[in-house]
Symmetry: C2
Subunit: 213 residues, 2 copies
DNA sequence: TCACATAGATAGCGAGCGCTCACTTTTTAT
DNA sequence: ATAAAAAGTGAGCGCTCGCTATCTATGTGA
């Protein structure tokens, strides 16, 4: 005990603040574990070590490991949409514009938050409960990405093509991220990826409705 | 013991035949486990149950679980190339031709053999040894797919665009397969995938070098 | 035929997993 | 001030995992 008037360095927090703090630490720890070590190595013990809390604290707030993972999925889903929206507002007039946008989208897709989301998607394939829990987050994510794509290309592509272009772009970038065997990005021989992205940009721009000069 | 002349139902096999038989059973069992239950649930016990052999038999032929998985990866890599090559030889003159080819490629990508390969790719991301072991198979796979693509589009696309188109197509199909949350394929709302594939086909055909009539 | 090498089966070990429980510490309500 | 409630701790339980040791069955070469 400390003499009155000289407070300890430990700050006083309400129960709600403590609760939110450790939950946030657990979610962040889970994201880091999933992105760095993968789904299988994301044990409750590993998450707790990363978050700096005890296992008892984890199981106070999440009844099961899967509940923690589902909460993490919803956590990163919102982050991913925000990052995706941030790319909107750029120009997409020329091929070079589109190449720049695709490059920025690529770095977003390779980010830890997206890596986490992908890890959970794969795990959900063999886990019916996780799969069901991921569906809502996934649908809202897709809807919001479509909205962001409309901001980008809304006056360049008709609605009919918008969703299709979005599907091509994000699935290709996801496919690249999934099957990247080299830890270093852009280590592919001959810069195939760069050429593929430029070709895709050319294809997209050439499908803009013709303007009559 | 049975009287001479009346052989038992059990056939007599050489040691080499027994060996190859159980190894083949183990590899097939591993493929089935990976495709149906996923990487984490592909335990040595599960594989042995699927293959109908004992754990002792498994560890006689494969010193470790990872060795079994690496062998399985090389096993399916060759299968995948064969399936991919089989799509070559079709026409790709019209948009409808290309749509048909993309549809066939899509079913190949969704096959169990490819699902297995994808499961191993993801696991390799957080397992340096598995990753290193997968690199050769992956490179030969890419090279052979490029060869098959040349058979398909060799006289329609110049070399410069060939690898780029291949990258777009297979990465998009892989991305679709990776992030498919619905067990039923083509259950997406509004047939977005079909429209995306058709748009991609249109884009590819419209990038054929112009012929002067 | 028979000693030997190879193939396969079975029991079980140590480690790590998800999770529980008895307990202490901190905040809140009276 | 004090009792109740909530948050957080850490030892440990039951279980499954990859893997080993020991044993039996089967084919091989002399």
């Amino acid at each position: 005990m400390i003499v009155a008037g000289v407070t300890t360095t430990r700050e006083r927090r309400t129960q709600a603040e403590r609760r939110e703090g450790t939950i946030a630490a657990l979610l962040d720890g889970t994201v880091r574990c999933l992105a760095e070590r993968g789904y299988a190595a994301t044990s409750t013990a590993a998450v707790c070590a990363e978050a700096g809390v005890s296992q008892g604290a984890l199981f106070r707030h999440f009844p099961t490991r899967q509940a923690l993972l589902v909460a993490t999925a919803e956590h990163v889903a919102t982050r991913n949409v925000d990052a995706f929206r941030a790319t909107a507002g750029a120009d997409v007039d020329t091929v070079d514009d589109v190449v720049a946008v695709l490059g920025r989208l690529r770095t977003i897709v390779l980010s830890p938050a997206n890596q986490t989301w992908r890890e959970l998607l794969v795990a959900a394939r063999s886990d019916a409960d996780l799969r069901a829990a991921l569906v809502p987050a996934r649908e809202s994510l897709q809807a919001q990405m479509l909205g962001a794509a409309a901001d980008l290309w809304g006056d360049r592509l008709r609605d009919h093509d918008l969703a299709a272009v979005l599907s091509i772009v994000v699935n290709m970038l996801d496919g690249l991220a999934f099957s990247a065997l080299d830890p270093d990005p852009a280590a592919a021989p001959g810069r195939t990826v760069e050429r593929a992205l430029r070709l895709l940009a050319e294809m997209i721009v050439s499908h803009y409705p013709q303007e009559h000069p």
